[in-house]
Structures are given as structure tokens and as C-alpha cells.
Symmetry: C2
Subunit: 267 residues, 2 copies
């Protein structure tokens, strides 16, 4: 089955969408077949790649609410080897409409099962909340990546997120693991940022022998540096590799993709 | 009644909390009595000011679900003349629990009515969504301020937000107005940012003669410049005025407070 990664952080604006899109683009440019699941009703991952669904075609919302629809009907090939299940504003209704159904947390997992032989990597872009859409991502995924900023307040949010992940592993998805943290918009010049990184690394190394879903988690190196090109490219419907292939942001996301390939394909 | 301002943008991480806290602090330091309503279950406004509710005391969640509780019991004086109704994680449940009640969108308005003679300004910090908590803020408020970043993708989100505001003015709160946009984390050096500002200002001036809730809206000047001190002070439980009173961020928020005082107190 594909390596399925949920990009999760309930804090807003930390780089979930930017990381989903640019990491997926990097993997596709290295020849991997990648699926982006745009699980955010604000549809920024879809917008970021300039994807607009055909009017009348099935959307991710339709797939989650009606398991009889063929998921491939909603699939769009955004770039060579880079597929997307796009979002639209209907998905906001899914949060509450799923809430009544008995197997509500399994819906995304079931959709992805039916696409399992089409791609090698699935990256799920989540909204800034720990509601039913994010829970669906945690049940469908094998790995969690936490994009975050190197700020002390961000550490507090991570604590809350890890509690939620623990509940999911105890009750819904025992195989789920936290792969690690991607530091976004990183400004290494401040002692503040360096202290937060040191705190995170100390926390993860203390957890190595615990029986927790993050015992193998780490802070991915290198961090993704703050780079204005990265902030600009979504407005043009492009990944950083199309917009500014020699920019710092392109280098950083390419290196992150190399790191993940090494971690997950080195048998 | 107090000038009641909802700080709204469904996009994550655009500066809602930072603006709520620092603008409230600026107004309080100029002698106004100000109430912050922390309507976000992630409680970052409360954390930003180092506020922790007494164990066992009433929370904003309790007030919204049980209208018989005296709102003053949940009130905390965070600084001189700066009050806060703090959030806690229970508030996440309010989104769905309110959903069943007939007067669910009026709950916050009713709570604030009972505090109306205590303060001159109420600033409501909203979560990154257009759900029931944010709708409560739109019904309780007289003015909306939209914190946003000067990026083209941000303009799209504003369109969606204005649709929601229109629905609220048509059905729930005819007096609601959009006061304007506060540009956060502004980097004036890029043509990108300047073009977005020009687009926004053109949009608002076209709307002057329309019968819309944003016919008096504007882009507040000056924008709030990106300033690392602003990003650091929440980790110390301080406003920018306590942490770095001579920093660019302190100047910008002080000038924004002056601008609003001029707009709202000049009779
Ligand atoms: N490395 C970077 N350098 C500069 N800007 C960046 C970088 N990464 C992300 N940004 C910008 O920061 C903002 C937030 O990023 P993004 O939308 O990816 O966060 P998010 O966590 O997906 O937000 P949400 O919670 O709303 O889904 C965007 O405007 C994005 O362009
Ligand atoms: N002027 C600024 N300069 C530098 N950093 C800033 C500035 N304003 C805000 N930030 C930082 O940007 C991040 C997002 O800001 P903030 O938390 O206020 O956004 P928000 O809209 O309230 O997010 P959410 O949607 O999660 O509630 C925070 O880390 C904050 O410290
Ligand atoms: Mg996003
Ligand atoms: Mg906030």
C-alpha cells in the first residue's frame, strides 16, 4: 500500500498546505507517483496547484458521504505523476454530516483503499482543527508529519496534538506513527528559534524508549527557511519548483523529499 | 453600549490573535476599558497574556451553554483596564453542542449584554473557521475587522468571508459593518504585497455606493510590519508593549489604536 502521510497541526497558518504541495511536487519530480488529498474546506492545496474540478464531477465531499461513488472519478492529474482529490466548500458540511454516521472516522480510509494501487505516496492536507476531517486523516494514515514554526507557543499546541494522536492509536489506528516535525518559515538567526529546536529534539530523544506513537519521531533537517518565493507561488497556481526553482525554498523542499525517500525506501 | 469588534478571518495564522491582543493592550494603555473575548478553543489570546483561569471558575464555554451563570464570574482582569473572558479546550465542544439549540447564534450576544456597562471596547478573537463560534461573534459584534496578509490567495478567502457577513446581515444582525482590513506581517518591499493592497483599496472604493456591509470599509494604515519581536512576545505571556516597547510592532499597533480611537470617538 502507499506510504500515507497526514500533514497535521491544529494551529493555523503553520505551513501544512505549503509543505503538502511542495513536498508532493518534489516527490513527483523525482519520479514517484503521488496523491494529494485536499481535506481542507478552504481548498488551498487545490488552489495552490491551480486545480479546478470539472463542474458536475464527483468531489471529495461526495466520496466521503457516498461510499458507492468510484473515487477515481474525483481524481485529477494536476502534474505528471501528481494526482489530487480536490476540495471544495461542500467539505465544510462534511464535518457535521459525518458526525452522525457510525463509521464516520473510517470514510477517508475506505476511499483511499480503492486508490491504493495507483500511487506510491499519499499526502493528506488537513484543516486547522482536530475535528472529524482531521480524525479521518489520522485513521487513514500510517504516518503523521507535523509542520510547525519554531516558537515556544507552538510547542504547547504540539502537546495537545500528541494527546489526540494517542487517543487515535489506542482506539482507531494502532499502526499510526509520528514520523516527525518539519520546521517551516524557519529563521535560524534568532536564539528563540534555536532554543525551540533544542527543546523539540530533547523531547523526542527522551521518548525513544517509551511505547508511544512518536518514539521514532524527529525534527527533519534541514528546516524550511522563510523565503518570500514560497509565499508568492500559490498565487500563480505553481509549486516552488515551477515558480522559482533555484530559490532557497525549492532547495529545502527538495532536500526534505530526499530525506523522506531515504527513510522510507531504503530497505 | 461598548464598541464591539469581531476579529475574523477563516484562514489560519493571519494575525487575528496577535492583533486582538496587541490592539486591546494599546487601547488599555491609552486609558480605555477593554474586554477581550477569547472565542478560540486553542486559547491563544489567553495564553498570549499569560492568563490562566482559576480551577473551578466559570469559563466562556459554561457561559455560552448555561445562560443562568453570571458572566462576571468568568471575567479576569489581565492588566489595568484590560479584561478577558478566557477560553479553554471545552470550547471545542461548544461548536457542536450549540448546534442543536434554537437560539444558538445569540448566545455570545446575550453574555456580552450583561457586561455592557463595564467596558468601552470589546474585541472578539475568532478561530480559523466560519462555524458556530464565529457566527456568534458576527451576531454579537457591531464591527468586523479582517486581519490578513498581503497575498493574492488571501483575497479569495476574503470573498468567502464577505459572503458569510452578507448572510448574517440579511438574517441575524442587520447593523453589522465591516470596519476594514488590518494588514499583518506586512513586507512592503515586494511588488506582490503592493499589488494586493492596491487591489483591496480599489475593491473598497468601488463598494462605496453599494448597499453592502462593507461600504465604509478600508485598508487601515499603517500596515503592521513583520517584526520578530511580535512573534516572540506570546511565548513570554506579554503584549508587544511589555516585551519590546520601542519595536516596530509596538509602534504599528499603537498607531492602529490611535486610528480606531479617531474613527470611533470623534463625535
Ligand atoms: N517557507 C516559507 N516562507 C515564506 N512564507 C511561507 C513559507 N511557508 C509558508 N509560507 C506562507 O505562510 C502562510 C501559511 O502557510 P500555509 O497556508 O501553508 O499554512 P497552513 O498551516 O496550511 O494554514 P491553514 O491552517 O490555514 O491551513 C502562507 O501565506 C504561505 O504562503
Ligand atoms: N507582525 C508580525 N510579525 C511577525 N510575526 C507575526 C506578526 N503578527 C503575527 N505574527 C506571528 O504569526 C503567527 C500567526 O499569528 P496569529 O496566531 O496571531 O494568527 P491567527 O490568525 O490568530 O491564527 P489562528 O488562525 O491559528 O487563530 C504567530 O506565530 C504570530 O506570532
Ligand atoms: Mg492549509
Ligand atoms: Mg488565533
Amino acid at each position: 500500500p502507499p506510504r500515507t502521510i497526514a500533514m497535521i497541526n491544529q494551529k493555523g497558518g503553520v505551513g501544512k498546505t505549503t509543505t503538502t504541495v511542495n513536498l508532493a511536487a518534489a516527490l513527483a519530480r523525482k519520479g514517484r507517483r503521488v496523491l494529494i488529498v485536499d481535506l481542507d474546506p478552504q481548498a488551498h492545496a487545490s488552489l495552490h496547484l491551480g486545480v479546478e474540478p470539472e463542474p458536475g464531477s464527483a468531489s471529495l465531499y461526495d466520496l466521503l458521504l457516498d461510499p458507492t461513488i468510484e473515487p477515481a472519478e474525483a481524481l485529477i492529474e494536476a502534474r505528471d505523476g501528481l494526482f489530487i482529490l480536490p476540495s471544495d466548500t461542500d467539505l465544510a458540511a462534511a464535518e457535521s454530516e459525518l458526525g452522525a454516521l457510525p463509521d464516520r472516522h473510517m470514510r477517508l480510509a475506505r476511499v483511499l483503499e480503492r486508490l491504493h494501487d495507483r500511487v506510491e505516496y499519499v499526502l493528506i492536507d488537513c484543516p486547522p482543527s482536530l475535528g472529524m476531517l482531521t480524525i479521518n486523516a489520522l485513521v487513514a494514515a500510517g504516518d503523521v508529519i507535523i509542520p510547525m514554526q519554531a516558537q515556544f507557543l507552538a510547542l504547547q499546541g504540539v502537546g495537545k496534538l500528541l494527546e489526540t494522536i494517542t487517543l487515535v492509536t489506542q482506539n482507531l489506528n494502532p499502526a499510526l506513527r509520528v514520523a516527525g516535525v518539519v520546521l517551516c518559515m524557519f529563521d535560524g538567526k534568532t536564539t528563540h528559534a534555536q532554543e525551540v529546536v533544542a527543546d523539540l529534539e530533547a523531547f523526542f530523544s527522551e521518548q525513544r524508549d517509551e511505547a508511544s506513537p512518536w518514539r521514532y519521531a524527529r525534527v527533519y533537517q534541514p528546516p524550511i527557511r522563510r523565503n518570500v518565493k514560497v509565499a508568492e507561488c500559490p498565487s500563480f497556481g505553481q509549486s516552488i519548483f515551477e515558480y522559482a526553482p533555484t530559490a532557497a525554498g525549492a532547495q529545502d523542499y527538495a532536500r526534505l523529499a530526499d530525506e523522506l525517500i531515504r527513510e522510507w525506501e531504503a530497505w
